[in-house]
Amino acid sequence: MDQQTIQMIAEALKEEGIDLVVTMPEEPTQPLMEYLRNDPYFTTITVSAEGHGLAMCAGASLGGRKCVFVTGIAGLLVGSWALAQTGLLYGIPTLILASYRGDIGDRSGISGPQLFMFQQVAKPLLDALRVPYVVTDQKSALKRKIRDSFFACEQYETPIVMLLTGEVLW
């Protein structure tokens, strides 16, 4: 993720008043988290497991604190229990930025079978959990899609995942 993309994400989050950022550290989004951690506008929290990170976001979100969860496909897999609870069961709005690991173009160095596993499970997982997602691979559409996704997750009352890939991520 390059500096221009990082700044676009930070600007879009600020424009929506999103100031709480929760993440489980993950390589492709690490530069984004480093940037947000150094910006006093944001409160950034690193969790030790995605499930409780999503539960934390759910509590904050229902309490009126605007937040975003930053993760990857592995994080969505690990957090699927929490997503089923907060999404299907309760309908709690949560914006999730997820690096689309395994998508065609992922040359980040993880092994081929792992890449393929992520590619195979990502969308079916979200479909099974009834979590809407939007693939975001163009920088020119990034800010608009963040704004639209945040608006939609509050209106639909559901988590929404932005799958970051293409020139946005690699």
Binding site: G63, R65, K66
Partner: protein, 199 residues
């Protein structure tokens, strides 16, 4: 050991309508709803969800007390949430784990076995902790935490089993409960009080 319901009655006597609570899916939600219905209460969070949900709530309402009413089986699903709670260190959060030693609906199925939940919390970095075995201890330790300003974590050893209580089933589960919670939150005087305006 104490009765959970006796502890919850005491806790309810210290509450005000601006405090917020979250409970796990155990006898906690039935008995808490039977003794306290005011303000914003999110009931019956499934395994592993209660403590971190309450941490999130404490970040949304930093000037109000948030109380997590968790249970041993629920906490054990994700004890790493204690590490995160300690790192966030919300001074307005009181976490109470009612520990009956068994998974509630499966008879004598042990939860923590030989593990000590208080020591796990201490090891995670939470400084104010206690294991409570009497009502007097509960009154002294938990009341002090309710009046204090630091993250507190209590394991309360309770008798297994459920009390017969009068509770509202519809408003302790699912979407109806969530909507009631959201209504209460939005009426709260601190709702989005610290919201940062768009830049």
């Amino acid at each position: 050991m104490v009765k959970r319901l006796d502890c919850l009655r005491l806790l309810a006597s210290w509450m005000d309508e601006h405090m917020l609570t979250a409970t796990s899916l155990s006898a906690n939600y039935r008995e808490w709803n039977a003794v306290w219905k005011n303000g914003a209460n999110f009931y019956a969070l499934n395994l592993g969800m209660c403590l971190p949900f309450a941490v999130g709530l404490s970040l949304a309402f930093p000037r109000r007390k948030v109380i997590a009413l968790d249970s041993d089986g629920s906490l054990l699903l994700d004890t790493s949430s204690l590490v995160t709670a300690a790192a966030v260190n919300p001074g307005n959060l009181v976490a109470i784990v009612f520990d009956n030693g068994v998974y509630g609906r499966m008879g004598a199925t042990a939860t923590a076995h030989a593990a000590d939940l208080e020591k796990i919390a201490q090891g995670a970095g939470i400084k104010s902790t206690a294991t409570i075995r009497t009502l007097e201890e509960f009154e002294r330790r938990v009341k002090a935490a309710m009046d204090g300003a630091e993250l507190a974590f209590f394991v309360v050893k309770v008798e297994p089993g459920k009390e017969r209580v009068d509770f509202d089933h519809r408003l302790t589960h699912g979407r109806a409960m969530k909507e009631a919670f959201v209504d209460a939150v939005r009426r709260h005087p601190d709702y989005r009080a610290n919201e940062k305006k768009s830049s």
